[in-house]
């Protein structure tokens, strides 16, 4: 049985524990160093919120694409050259409107559509967010700086299966005629999680 006292006093540092596994994998010919390098490249250069921002900007400007995106997110993002891991079999896009605001959480762990909206920020994985946003959605969003009108319906999406979600923010007025690239620049990871909105919406 794990004994809490022992865990505190004699436990190897978390870094030493990671080193131990990496060294064991190395000895078994699994080439962890190479894989860590590849992973770092994916995390830093491929799994970026700019992907999702492009998807949203295109949905704002191309109604036919938007229709395909809402019908089958995974196929639609593939049109833009964006892929999802094999076990993410379904991407559901949640459209914010003047009366509906969507927000995503994973209460059981911290799942996200990370290849599209980027790896989850630290607070998304914290116990506070996981415990509270399903039950106190309006309060938590307000604490995070997003005060929604009382008339806005809040829809919380708990990612408890391998279906992944992304929020499609509202397009702000005054952006008519903007290029997709310029529109994409308005959109952040937090907006696609649903804890922030595009300025002016």
């Amino acid at each position: 049985m794990p004994d809490n006292i022992h865990i505190k006093l004699n436990t190897a540092s978390v870094e030493a524990r990671v080193d131990a596994i990496q060294a064991a994998f190395e000895e078994r010919g699994m080439k962890p160093a190479e894989f860590i390098g590849e992973f770092r490249e994916l995390a830093e250069e491929k799994w970026l919120p700019e992907n999702g921002a492009r998807v949203c900007a295109k949905a704002w400007t191309d109604p036919a694409f938007k229709a395909r995106l809402m019908a089958n997110g995974k196929d639609a993002v593939a049109e833009l050259g964006l892929s999802m891991p094999a076990h993410h079999r379904h991407l559901v896009v949640l459209e914010n409107t003047a009366s509906i605001h969507n927000v995503i959480v994973c209460t059981l762990c911290s799942c996200t559509a990370f290849s599209i909206i980027g790896l989850p920020p630290d607070w998304y994985k914290d116990l506070e967010y996981r415990a509270r946003v399903v039950r106190q959605s309006r309060t938590v969003l307000k604490e995070m700086g997003l005060e929604l009108p009382a008339s806005t319906e809040i829809r919380v999406w708990d990612t408890t299966a391998d279906t992944r979600y992304m929020v499609l923010p509202m397009r702000p007025s005054g952006t008519e005629g903007w290029s997709e690239e310029k529109l994409a620049g308005l959109i952040s990871k937090d907006m696609m999680i649903g804890v922030a909105r595009v300025a002016g919406t």
Binding site: A20, A23, P121, S137
Partner: protein
Amino acid sequence: MDGIHDMGGRQGFGRVRYALKAQTFHEPWEKRVNALYSLAVKCGIFNMDEYRHAIERMEPRHYLSASYYERSLTSLATLCVEKGILTREELERRAQGQFPLSMPSAPGRGNVETRPTLKPGDKVRVRTDHVPGHVRMPGYIRGKTGVVVGVSPKYPFPDAHAHGIHAEDEPTYDVRFNAEELWPHDADPAHVHVGVFESYLERVS
């Protein structure tokens, strides 16, 4: 299992530590852990459901005090030991200290025999089952009724897949619940949508 990880609706937590442009990783070892568990999945040592379940099986005090990536590390190490890839002794010798692992697993289960085939608009109730092994049903929807709003492709059934039990793949249904029915008298008004496996649901006429 009704474990400590089942956080949805649990009270007593403070404010979310929110910052604009928050980081995903804070320490270099965190990226290595993330890569190493992905490598283990890629090598077929374990699957994602086993990985999630081994996190849930962490001793509750350890789960709650550990960071997200320490939980990843603990699951990775536990499964490598349980699968015979490594021994705890090797890990502790290499790390020069104790290497806390997760608690043993309880039995898993296969699909529920009589499962409803559902479509958007159907009214459903979440079964009141308690499951000793892995399950992807958050406790806060147990026994509650809601309405199907979406249907997914089929996925491996986690209650079986996390335990090496063969089972049929199942679709999940996005079910809409009212927060005020989930937590009467003590919730902000909202619709809460949960992706629910077919085996967890029964049709309500």
